[in-house]
């Protein structure tokens, strides 16, 4: 009997998800998250980065012949969902995209962050420059241009870092630098990253025999994988809220017995599961409109679920000690990355005029 149009995960996909979850629970337990938040200035944990590389997190979609795992976007989405769930810090999306392009990224030996040169990127403001995460920890920066005919370049991080200025990041686990428009970065720093050549049109052609990926494709994958991180966070905050609602007693009963609290939690689940359906589907179709829908709804789910989770936690949720604010702040950062709500909505609106035309 045929059973297609099937959202069910295959056994291999299930195993992959369980494997990533187990790895992160073992190597990035809550104490590590708290240490990253409460310790000194957050840096990317290179040992963990290499371990993620060893587990295939970054090389997941490289062909086996090129030393990769040979899987596709659906599997990458599952892995990133787990990373989002664990609030794993670091430029995960950029390093994953740089696998096979920047030397050492696939194995987790290099930390690669990204610069969105197509607009104001993560940050807001006219000509103030884009915000780049984890720049001080990074070896290279993947600069991705406009969706249409923009360039993709790998730049050494050091040069950009010298021209950049640190920002007091709202997310304590995601340091941000404001980087001036790359055109204004002094020329000598714009040499390609040592190792594989990365310049427009022949981007690591040797590593990707399928042909060079356009800036639009990089961007679309970045949007989707960021949505997957958001989805993981949105699902995690549902669990956190439900657990707290079961354990916290007021008026002689668990607060989860009050409908007002129940309905907050139910609404959170609806957001997470609605986002999940379109994130998973977009991983299969890679359709630009569906990817935009995935980002829009996953951003909304992550941000609003974190807000409602905070509300369910009451006064405790307002403390630094509770983890809820970390989900909210990371969700804010990711919502600004790659495709913001306004851009996703405009893309979807344009798609409506093409619908059935």
């Amino acid at each position: 009997m045929s059973q297609r149009v099937d959202f069910r995960l295959t056994d291999d996909q299930r195993a992959l998800r369980a494997g990533v979850r187990e790895l992160l629970e073992g190597r990035f337990p809550r104490e590590r998250l708290r240490a990253a938040v409460d310790g000194g200035p957050p840096v990317v944990d290179r040992a963990l980065w290499r371990e993620l590389g060893g587990a295939g997190f970054f090389a997941l979609r490289l062909r086996e012949a090129d030393g990769g795992v040979g899987l596709g976007l659906p599997e990458a989405v599952l892995a990133f969902e787990e990373a989002g769930r664990a609030l794993l810090p670091g430029p995960l999306v950029a390093t994953h995209l740089a696998a096979g392009v920047v030397e050492g990224a696939a194995e987790g030996r290099a930390v690669v962050t990204a610069l969105d040169t197509a607009g104001d990127g993560v940050g807001v403001g006219d000509g103030a420059g884009a915000l780049v995460e984890h720049l001080a920890s990074a070896d290279a920066v993947l600069a991705i241009g406009a969706p249409g005919d923009g360039d993709v370049e790998a730049l050494p991080a050091a040069g950009l870092a010298r021209a950049a200025r640190p920002v007091r990041s709202v997310d304590p686990a995601t340091p941000l630098h404001r980087v001036p428009n790359p055109d204004r970065v002094p020329h000598p720093d714009r040499v390609p990253h040592p190792g594989r050549v990365a310049c427009p049109g022949r981007l690591a052609a040797s590593a990707r025999p399928a042909g060079p990926r356009s800036a639009g494709r990089y961007r679309r994958e970045a949007v989707l994988l960021t949505a997957a991180l958001q989805l993981g966070s949105a699902a995690r905050t549902v669990e956190m809220a439900v657990r707290h609602a079961r354990e916290r007693f007021q008026f002689g009963r668990p607060i989860g017995a009050f409908q007002a609290v129940q309905h907050l939690c139910a609404g959170m689940l609806v957001r997470a599961e609605t986002a999940r359906s379109v994130v998973y589907a977009a991983a299969v179709t890679e359709d630009a409109g569906e990817v935009a829908a995935a980002k829009l709804l996953a951003d909304e789910a992550a941000v609003h679920n974190a807000r409602d989770c905070l509300q369910v936690h009451g006064g405790m949720g307002f403390t630094w000690e509770a983890d809820v604010h970390l989900h909210l702040k990371r969700a804010w950062v990711r919502a600004e990355q790659w495709q913001r709500a306004a851009d996703a909505e405009e893309e979807l609106a344009a798609g409506l005029l093409r619908f059935g035309a």
């Binding site: 297609r4 959202f7 689940l269 909505e345």
Partner: protein, 387 residues
Amino acid sequence: MDLDCTEAEEDFRRRLRAWLAEVLPKLPDPPDPADWPARRAYDCGWQRMLYDAGYAGLHWPEDAGGQGATPTQHLIFLEETERAGAPYVGANFVGLLHAGPTIAAEGDAEQRARWLPPILRGDEVWCQGFSEPEAGSDLASLRTRAVRDGDSYVVTGSKIWTSHAEVADWCELLVRTAPAGDGAPPHRGISWLAMPMDAPGVTVRPLRTLAGTAEFAEVFLDEVRVPVAHRIGAENDGWRVTMVTLSFERGTAFVGEVVACRRVLAALAREAKAGGRWDDPVLRRRLGRLAAEFAALWRLTQWNVSEAQRAGGVPGTGGSVFKLRYSHARQELYDAAAEVLGAGALDAGHPWVADRLSSLSYTIAAGTSQIQHNIVAERILGLPKGR
């Protein structure tokens, strides 16, 4: 994760498309919405065409006269018929989606032989007698009483929100056969009866809704005699029997509507473009957000169908998640339509305005959004039973 259809499913889609292209032009004009007998004749004529072409009861089991199609094929059927602009299930909704599947699942051989074939052929129309004036969301508190008298039940009470009551032959009726109270849970003591609508003592009164139309009716029952042989399932076991149909209601019932909503949304965008409103980024973004919403709802539907496939055809709790999101999105869609129409939104004759009015029932019918939140909280999230 796999969104492709199998070759057999694609073949099914191709054959269905070809058939629709052939027969739809031959259909008579749709009847006046206020003319119930004409609506019945039109809907039943369409059902007969489906029957003759082998598409009746697609999702019903084969031993009930259905086609035993997979949920995916059923999804394709709903998608393609909507795309082609085929008639809706209309007057046959209750028979095909509630009463029929219930009788197929819970009826004995004689009952199945009596009631299922006429539903599939479009010969007999069913209505639903569940809700009562005092039993809405709290359906188990229903009071319509059935007292055993020899081979019959004598039924007295009233039902409300009954669609197609004026033209129905049968009513799937929930009655109380044992009193509530004495500490017994209220859903014990309910039985499921097939009541002939022409039985003495049945009075139907049209119920005018805020849309100005009479899509529903009240049904008053005054000592109506219903043979005991018309009971489906055991006496006092009607609640369990009913839950089978209610879960169907939240499964694939909205597939065609989601497809239709996506079409309406695209039409809204074209209308806004033609009328110059498209230059307003606030409106554009609002429509773009709705596009994301319905894209996700479509995928959520497929997901639920996929889950139903795994569970052997019975849709699961994912239906509540879908219904909550969909009923809200449908209202948002028609609010956006009103913005596109501007002052034209005050013309109740415009189809979008009529749909805007009817969309107001979506967060209420088949379990209010508040009840759906309770279901999600208690049954899916496992929160303690609340008050």
